[in-house]
Symmetry: C2
Subunit: 123 residues, 2 copies
DNA sequence: GGGAGGACTGGCCAACCGGCCAGTTTCGCC
DNA sequence: GGCGAAACTGGCCGGTTGGCCAGTCCTCCC
């Protein structure tokens, strides 16, 4: 393993907590074979620590609601969801309604966005 | 600054490329004051390097489309968007239409999901 | 046995959405 | 001067959405 077949790994920091960012910058800055990205530089990998804000109470969604939510995130219409899950459109609407309530959303788009933000679903 | 007011920083790795993950694990594993997270452990920060798959061609969206897209992601209706941007509902629909085209989406929910996936917007 | 909660279904309806047609203005560029 | 791109506006219309009412089955639990 010569040094040149393993180019430096460039890390960008995306840390909300300044103190933590500082400590990490110091720690990582002195590691051989690795350096921190210059502003605007494209990094090999990012070190991420987001503000752990409003994540504590994970919303209690039923299995069925998760099914519906997942299909909503795929852009499926109520009709399509009904077909997929083998239930009536009315039932889909019923679940969507619960979802809007629980996720505190104003519409299906908002519901998907909120769910994604809270990590309930993965886009 | 005693050692105990600065607890170990726990890093989790989210690297798609196994080789890179390996190198990083080795490099970071030997840094004092820092360790890698055990499976399932809550980490202080994550080191992320996602597959740079279908991200090359960043979709060309106009400024106005970005405006509309951002509001869509907030769950805003066409009417609300129109008010926000001080344009008519028709114009909003026009931009939404272009967005659906460019993002290859079937509806506004799908459009927001696609945009988020491609990093066009941040949820 | 009597809740309580979840899943499911129906009808009804106003509002919203998206796609179609058409048009104007403004801007930069060849 | 002409030409395309972007932004903007209008009318029209069928399909979708979300909220309201109602009801039936379950199952778990006190």
């Amino acid at each position: 393993m010569s040094e040149d077949n393993a180019p430096e790994i460039v890390l960008s920091l995306e840390i909300d907590d300044p103190a933590l960012a500082d400590r990490l910058a110091t720690l990582l800055g002195s590691v051989a074979g690795l350096r921190l990205a210059a502003p605007g530089e494209t990094a090999t990998a990012s070190v991420v620590a987001r503000d752990p804000r409003v994540m504590p109470e994970d919303i209690a969604l039923t299995q069925r609601e998760l099914d519906v939510l997942a299909l909503m995130a795929e852009g499926a219409s109520n009709k399509m969801i009904a077909r997929q899950l083998n239930i009536s459109v009315h039932t889909v609407k019923f679940h969507v309604g619960s979802l809007l309530d629980k996720l505190d959303a104003t519409g299906r788009t908002d519901a998907v966005a909120h769910a994604a933000r809270r990590g309930v679903i993965e886009l």
